[in-house]
Symmetry: C2
Subunit: 552 residues, 2 copies
Amino acid sequence: MPNGAQALMKTLVDSGIEVCFSNPGTSEMHFVAALDNEPKMRAVLALFEGVATGAADGYARMAGKPAATLLHLGCGLGNGLANLHNARKGKSPMLNIVGDHATYHVKYDAQLQSDIETVARNISPNFVRTSQRTEDLCQDAVEAIAAARGLPGQVSTLILPADVSWGEGAQACTLPPPAPVAGATSEQINNASAAINSGKKTAMLLGGQALRENTLLAAAKIAAHAGVTLFAETFPSRIERGAGLPAVERIAYLAEMASLQLSEFDHLILVDAKAPVSFFAYPGKQSYLVPDHCTVHTLSSEEQDAETSLNALIESLGASSAQAPLQNAKRPGRPKGKLSADKVCRAVGELMSENSIIVDEAITSGLMLNAMTAGAPRHDMITLTGGAIGQGLPSAIGAAIACPDRPVLALIGDGTAMYTNQALWTMAREHLNITTIIFNNASYSVLNVELERVGAEEVGEKAKSQLDLSGPVTNFALLAQSMGVHGSRVHTSEELLKAMEYALSKPGPHLIEAVVPESLNGIKRKILPYLLKSMPSLPAPLSKALKNKIAP
Amino acid sequence: MPNGAQALMKTLVDSGIEVCFSNPGTSEMHFVAALDNEPKMRAVLALFEGVATGAADGYARMAGKPAATLLHLGCGLGNGLANLHNARKGKSPMLNIVGDHATYHVKYDAQLQSDIETVARNISPNFVRTSQRTEDLCQDAVEAIAAARGLPGQVSTLILPADVSWGEGAQACTLPPPAPVAGATSEQINNASAAINSGKKTAMLLGGQALRENTLLAAAKIAAHAGVTLFAETFPSRIERGAGLPAVERIAYLAEMASLQLSEFDHLILVDAKAPVSFFAYPGKQSYLVPDHCTVHTLSSEEQDAETSLNALIESLGASSAQAPLQNAKRPGRPKGKLSADKVCRAVGELMSENSIIVDEAITSGLMLNAMTAGAPRHDMITLTGGAIGQGLPSAIGAAIACPDRPVLALIGDGTAMYTNQALWTMAREHLNITTIIFNNASYSVLNVELERVGAEEVGEKAKSQLDLSGPVTNFALLAQSMGVHGSRVHTSEELLKAMEYALSKPGPHLIEAVVPESLNGIKRKILPYLLKSMPSLPAPLSKALKNKIAP
């Protein structure tokens, strides 16, 4: 009979879990030893748990199925918590395997003892279990996997005491087939249909599963048939876009703008999306961004199948022969001269190849990214779903492992890059095809914007120093080289284009540090053209109102 | 009237909290803005929360009072959890201020929403509070500080909703004087006294507060008077040692050795220490390391004053005129030739100056550190109290800020250094007087030892690859340079000595990467001489038994 770890390993691969992002310690040594007998399991070592968890999230988004993480007790899980939060918000299926002390050792309160179930509670609200007996381990595992892969996808956490892992008498289990998932009810379809046929201004907000090719095409048919405006949620887990797919306007991050986007609609139909709320609260500003006069309908929830629901709505509307307008192929042209954040985005739109995966954690520097890549060849974009920065680099690892034949472009702000910079090492070790571009503006730039938005405008040098990342300015090219990644630093558009062309033509990881010094006013000036390009829904008077708000 | 953040800032400095290790986000912007009006508060920016929390821990250990951290919601706290665990285990007083969404914003479940109190539960078991009203904020703060600074020191977590922070109508509060702390009861003194006078072999285990000058001198008097053997806990929060202080043998990390150290004693007297247990459980091995025939007595617990207790015991024993033997000044000599981990420890013992603070997170590479620095000039040593790696570099920051006139030597394993490498940036920014030595053996070396200890001996290449940090080998000198720290890489003893002499003579941070390639067998061979030097308590037959266990 195999020991617990060996039977667990077999159960995992039989259940389709073929990658384990690991950062093991002593309590996980039997699991590590069990890797030797299971050729179907790929183990990817990370030097920090935030890398392992973020990679499993990125993998799930692109593979559409869970990977496992292997974490070391409560502290290892704690280190992974921020990216697990992002995974939960992105509804990524994932299985955490968290090693624990042997069951009989817990009472001694040794150094690493903590209550792991409590640590896991936030990120795994529906499945946290400590396996108590070797005989039950594999059954626990299949229940954890089943919970993770349903709709919505979830993070399951299975806590594995060392003695349950090393004990004998385990038997691998088989994952039951997934339960069938229903689409919208007839009531939901009728309500959505009635709203669309009411003659009032109607918008449809797509999120989660509804941002993939088939759902986008279905939603675009409805839009074309009935004059419905389509929106995508602000931070999609994964959105398919580019030439040949329907172009969908994203709800803006800044609440002031999102309110304007939604201000003229009488009906808002949700498809696997939440009614928009402000990311943060601000003194004297609304948290809920849907206008009072607008009625919200749910065509389908995160637990219902979006594609089935949209197709049923098409049928109900008689829209099946409508022609969805598709995005034309259009490159933005090569940038020239001194570098700035928008020129980096332009270069990405100009050079990115078909089938790229863009990981967008560029924060303020990525304001122009959507506009600049709209007509680029077809691609996927992954974004920061839960607001916990440090997700981009790890997520790129997962995406590259899920899709080894696709180039990954990770666009990362300097502040966020530092959170999980250890990801660079794993990129080098696994020789992943990832080109990382760091926007180095030596600042938590978004916080300069936020400082003003929360009404704390008159700030002095001491407060500002808390948002300032200069003195010293991190040299990301050196940082990359220190972990075995080819790194370069560029100051001009021409240098950037050359570095990108080199990186995209050579397999393996590259990092390009784009130095883009930028003032708060510079950023504000740039918000406006970004909006004009990315918010075509806005009628002219609202564009004017927006201009007055942002850059009077 | 000041707003909540401003009144809180005044309450903090009036309560003696003069440093805030911060990593703020939008919800903390009013606290950041309040820094401008409070010259007594030093704000130290960290690029990752694990750095902020570890720094506050190191600060508390050396300053003997709490610093604050400023963290961004549940995810920021999550990123800081591992080092907060170490702080809790080290009984460090500390105040976490965790920004949260405005109270009315919580219900919208925005991207960064999570249940922060649950995240904090493990690390702040006795004080987690979400401040609900601006009027109550400062009272909440003084209660949090009072809870943190008692005996034992604790991590308090105060959750600060954005609207409570920006609201008007707050008033600063005054921290009440600390409650008096009692020493051992007469029953405890009598029990300890009786054990010592029983004629049986007796040991005293010192931990926590009992490893500072006054308590060490008191314990050493008892030892000299009555033939009691002194031990220190395995991972002291802070131990004062070196020439002129009593030398105290540490309980070994490896359970097999600790059992041998304790095997011949009939009585074990605890002073702010726990009876030794194994760090991890191992198949077929004991978790509790005190032999069955040994009676355990508590002279004083973590809630009682150790110095008062030891002095009362001295009086009870009539030992006040006993002469405690003190450590002679003795440098180990300069190492020569090809570098190895023990030669690095030798160089440290040879070159370290009076009043140094050693941060020991060298893991296997530091095996010889205690022996090599025993006769060095008087110094403090800080160790990894909770087993969650990544504490050393941040802790060095805190120590350097608490003691700006003392040189800090951080001795860090390569695996652990990567967890919180962002600490290097803060060292550069604050121009801290820290010399970091990285032991680069390109391996999670301790896990190679552990793999064997858990009985998973016959492992293949795939399992071993999970403990292997080569391919690529991180270049720590470059890593340091990328963050503005002077970095060098050395391969020989002579290069190391030169680099150390340079670093110790120039203010500001330096990093020396010592390349110490080492095999598992090499480490095992070295365990033996280490033991002979660091475990003088062992009688000859036991030394022989040990030899057979470790390197037969």
